[in-house]
């Protein structure tokens, strides 16, 4: 059993893979400051077992944190048939970009699809607002 499950606020480490989503893209074209874009962007899709370990129900918010930033997003089940504990998915957006490393090794290419974060329950905290 994972040690994390004995803590009062369990936390897990996940690798985040970012992806494109046509519904989110459409919402961005219409209004990148709008609710629809936020709802479709500020989301992390987790394995159901990871959600359970976090003691978070789908639709509740979680805190994603690493040394580059912190962001509150909504947690969802990924819907993938194959289990993928420890791997989570986020549509690429300013919310995922907050967590992207600035270490590029001088290549000019950030690791957009190689993000490691700690996930904990946000205990009702609201989704992070875009910088305005």
């Amino acid at each position: 059993m994972d040690f994390g499950s004995f803590l009062s606020a369990p936390e897990i480490q996940v690798k985040v893979i970012t992806y494109r989503d046509i519904f989110q893209d459409k919402a961005m074209f219409e209004d990148r400051f709008g609710e629809e874009y936020r709802n479709l962007s500020a989301v992390i899709k987790l394995d159901p077992a990871d959600l359970k370990q976090l003691n978070v129900k789908k639709g509740e918010t979680v805190i994603l944190k690493n040394s580059f930033g912190k962001v509150v997003v909504k947690a969802e089940e990924s819907g993938y048939e194959t289990p993928h504990r420890g791997i989570a998915y986020m549509p690429k957006s300013p919310w995922s970009n907050i967590l992207v490393s600035d270490e590029t090794g001088g290549t000019g290419v950030p690791k957009f699809k190689d993000i490691s974060v700690t996930v904990t329950s946000a205990k009702g905290e609201k989704v992070t607002e875009l910088m305005r």
Partner: protein
């Protein structure tokens, strides 16, 4: 009745079969386009003021004058964006960069730039989307999900259409393959031909595939079933006209392009394969080609008194990270939205000129904002499709907003 078709500039496919209904210069209905294309052509959110300086409404002349003054006073301004601009606008931007000794870059420096450069230099075999529609029997999507990024590609060009030599289409004559770290919407369409690999597993998968193509036992450290890899190798060997569409998922996973060069070489010894990069914006390919024609480089350049320097240190990411640029002219892009927050935040420390048809995170934090016509909807010109084909377009509706081309010309004159 002759129909009037328009071009959608919503993505790198530049679909040229779009019909619209418009009234009083407002697009009411869009036919044929995808979900993103419809949203793009009906794009409505305009800024409250067309021209702003320090977040206060001004007239056009004041905004142009202030933009020119920022560029004139900068030691090393960054000119960035242009992925959705016309070829004509991009060429003026290159001239503007020369005149202001600027660093010039677009999103390709952190997307598919190296691959596009290799294609422009004829290091990889490529073909057009029309060739694929007419001839392709094996279509590989590697680290890319066109169902979400280029929604009409499978239906208009690759898997589903009846091409001149592929009248029996996907049911009998075409195989679509997805290689990805997740079961994307495209992977679902590919059914049993979805090959799921672990993150960062692409280079090994390529090695194993090359082994399979060479008649050796394909092995990976993550124990990918050799039988499945051999099955894939056999399909590729039997291809009469194959194509690999390469996305960022693959490029980000590789240290360099060598594995891809090796794979293409052996594929073309065994069968006939082409490669097309899944370029996202409608004219990133144009920017790369136009800059290459002018400088011999596709992105990340720095002009200095008639000379041109090139390297990752002149990319948008490194120049913002190292704070080597002291002003920015951003054309049709939103770096505050698309770059890592830890790097994008450095833009808040320099004066930014945002030239864009919509309000963006970057425009809200710009010293100067100039609202333009939407290229391809309200302004005409030409762009280069993801497969290198030039597509020209007329405006769909009229507008009072100046085109990006006009704005850049005026800034140039004001200098």
């Amino acid at each position: 009745m002759e129909k009037n078709y328009h071009v959608c500039t919503g993505c790198g496919l530049l679909c040229d079969d779009i019909e619209v209904e418009s009234e009083k210069n407002i697009v009411n209905k869009v036919y044929t386009a995808c979900r993103v294309g419809v949203a793009h052509m009906k794009e409505a959110r305009r800024a409250e003021a067309d021209f702003r300086v320090d977040n206060k409404p001004v007239d056009e002349a004041t905004a142009i004058r202030e933009a020119a003054s920022i560029l004139k006073n900068a030691r090393n301004p960054l000119i960035f964006g242009l992925g959705t601009s016309t070829n004509e606008t991009q060429k003026i931007a290159i001239e503007l960069a020369k005149k202001t000794n600027a660093t010039l870059d677009d999103t390709s420096s952190f997307c598919l730039g190296p691959l596009v450069e290799a294609l422009i230099q004829d290091k990889l075999k490529t073909c057009t989307l029309d060739d694929i529609r007419n001839k392709a029997d094996v279509i590989i999507y590697w680290g890319t999900d066109p169902s979400d990024s280029h929604p009409r590609q499978l239906s208009k060009h690759t898997y589903f259409p009846r091409g001149s030599e592929k009248q029996r289409g996907w049911e009998e004559e075409r195989t679509a393959i997805a290689i990805d770290v997740r079961k994307s919407h495209t992977a679902k369409i590919c059914g049993n031909y979805f090959f799921q690999i672990p993150p960062k597993g692409d280079a090994e998968f390529i090695d194993a595939l090359i082994a399979g193509l060479s008649g050796k036992l394909p092995k990976t450290s993550y124990n990918y079933p050799p039988k499945k890899l051999l099955e894939l190798a056999n399909i590729l060997k039997g291809a009469k006209f194959g194509v690999i569409f390469v996305g960022r998922g693959l490029i980000y996973s590789l240290e360099n392009l060598e594995p891809l060069f090796k794979l293409m070489k052996i594929l073309n010894e065994k069968s006939n394969f082409h490669l097309i990069p899944m370029v996202g914006n409608c004219n990133t390919m144009g920017f790369n080609k136009n800059l290459f024609a002018e400088t011999g480089y596709v992105n990340s350049v720095k002009f200095e008194n008639g000379t041109v320097k090139h390297g990752p240190e002149y990319s948008v990411v490194e120049s913002l990270k190292a704070k080597t640029v002291d002003a920015a002219l951003v054309i049709g892009s939103d770096p505050l939205l698309i770059l890592p927050g830890s790097i994008a935040k450095n833009m808040l420390e320099i004066p930014v000129i945002s030239v864009d048809h919509c309000e963006t995170l970057t425009s809200k934090h710009s010293k100067v904002y100039i609202n333009t016509a939407i290229s391809g909807v309200e302004a005409g010109g030409s762009a280069i499709r993801m497969d290198g084909v030039k597509v020209s377009f007329e405006p769909v509706i009229e507008t009072n907003h100046p085109s990006e081309e006009v704005v850049l010309k005026k800034i140039m004159e004001a200098l």
